[in-house]
Symmetry: C2
Subunit: 313 residues, 2 copies
């Protein structure tokens, strides 16, 4: 990268890209300009640190780029907003191959496209290890869906698989090429989460979502935020959460897959509470209920053990 220099690199990662129409001014000036047709925008940011949030021997640069964008897009969608643009700060050692950076950018653009948006700008700096900082924007087409609106009597539901990323991480950690091949789908889910954006973005206006989040830290931890913000209790039904695809992995590794489902995190599925009015919308599965009280229980019982990812634990 040292040979190309910062401006050469910026040209390289932007070559051949097409901005979506919400990006009114893209890279190349002091700042980008993004449309905010609703007169407001949602924003979220995440920092990913090499060997803490990703490993270059476990994931390709495309996969790392996709995951970095996916986890931020999921936060935007978890507000009920439509992704409009991303900006990316990238720190890399000077001897990072240019091909690595191009592939990372390819992965970012691919996932940005899946979310309906593009990458409007960024910053590239020298750093002793790879650091990726993504900031994502969205248009709130409805009132933002916050953590604080759940009420006793609501239904708790999820969209998208849970525990697959945790299962894939356990397979990778086991270090067996055989297991990695046998459970390739699970490993892929860890390398590139696929948040089911459409499950939220295509919710009919008539559906009353009272609280919404993406499952980034672990289901117990993330529903814990909803319970605490809303001043309610949540009880999960373990039978509704069980997943045959995970049972086989759990058996091979001698681990109960329920830990991955409840505390694995990084799946970037969505978890929501709905006013109880009969059928759930497409893509959503009922997994529990909102009660008066506080805390999150499973089958009526408080669970011991890890609740989810904690940055400084």
């Amino acid at each position: 990268m040292g040979e190309l220099g910062e401006f050469g690199l910026i040209a390289l990662v932007n070559a051949g890209r097409t901005q979506t129409s919400g990006v009114l001014l893209g890279p190349g000036d002091d700042a980008a300009v993004i449309a905010a047709p609703e007169g407001r925008f949602v924003v979220t940011t995440d920092m990913l640190v090499q060997d803490r949030h990703f490993r270059v021997d476990w994931s390709s640069p495309q996969e790392i780029g996709r995951k970095a964008i996916a986890q931020n897009a999921a936060d935007v969608v978890a507000m009920g907003a439509v992704p409009s643009a991303f900006v990316v700060g990238l720190g890399c050692p000077a001897d990072t191959p240019v091909e690595f950076v191009r592939a990372l950018a390819d992965g970012m653009w691919a996932e940005a496209g899946r979310a309906g948006a593009s990458i409007a700008g960024g910053d590239m700096v020298r750093s002793p290890l790879i650091i990726i900082s993504v900031t994502a924007f969205g248009d709130p087409r409805r009132a933002p869906i916050k953590l604080s609106g759940a009420r006793p009597g609501d239904v708790v539901a999820v969209a998208g698989p849970l525990g697959h990323s945790g299962g894939g991480l356990a397979v990778l950690s086991a270090g067996s090429a055989e297991l990695t091949a046998e459970f390739a789908e699970m490993v892929a889910a860890h390398r590139v989460p696929q948040p089911p954006y459409e499950a939220v973005l295509e919710l009919p206006d008539t559906v009353e979502v009272t609280a919404l989040t993406d499952v980034s830290d672990g289901l117990l931890a993330d529903l814990g935020h909803i319970a605490e913000s809303s001043g309610v209790a949540i009880d999960l039904d373990s039978a509704a959460l069980s997943d045959p695809a995970l049972e086989a992995v759990g058996k091979a590794l001698g681990v109960s897959p329920l830990d991955w489902i409840l505390a694995g995190g990084e799946d970037h599925a969505f978890a929501a509470t709905f006013a109880d009015s009969g059928d759930l919308p497409d893509g959503w599965v009922r997994v529990g209920a909102v009660r008066a009280g506080s805390g999150v229980t499973v089958d009526g019982t408080a669970r011991t053990g890890p609740a989810g990812w904690e940055s400084f634990a």
Copy 2:
């Protein structure tokens, strides 16, 4: 920091802060919500890496925080936009003292306040060294002032001191406590740049600014971006750039201060081109002229030597 955990830390850095009215939803949910009354917003992002962009033995955490916000606010203002909010990603070793983080946040909030905005959210992660990623937003109250609008015949002018940050860095690099005390003002300018936001934000509507940037990489480099984007040449007048305050520092270190003025960067002064219609607005000093052609010259001559900061040079 390990003892407090991520959520304890988030509570700590947000305790006692008051969001400005443009922050419609602050920290605590999946994403923040920011007002964009013009139906669009400007956005810029910078990543700062410990020992590359700042040193904890040269600057206090307050100073590092102020500088991180100032350089991003300057980019927003350099589009002719009014800062509305910031989000901050912070990576730190687990043994970073909590007081360091609180002081860093204090510095960030102080400079955000000087720019008229607040810090709407962020992310905190563990990292082997300190990484600060700031993303800044602004309301473009007029059409964005781009790099590409300079025309032959325009006046080149600057607002704010140039070369003081470079002079201060040279003093710090000399490692003499005596010189650091003697030139304390210059050292302070390096530790905390003070972009003269008001020189841009209070420009009368009648003034025709054709191109605008902040001086982050160095005057020659930043005006080079204007010259290239606009397809023009810029000639600087070295006499208009001379600064008595820098002469004394230059003499003490045996260096020509013109290098700091032309290539020092990090002052976050503003450089602009104005349609030539007589007097310049308050706070602006004429330092050159736009001509037909290409490139940036000083007193009619191409300058050899460093043009400014290059991230991967």
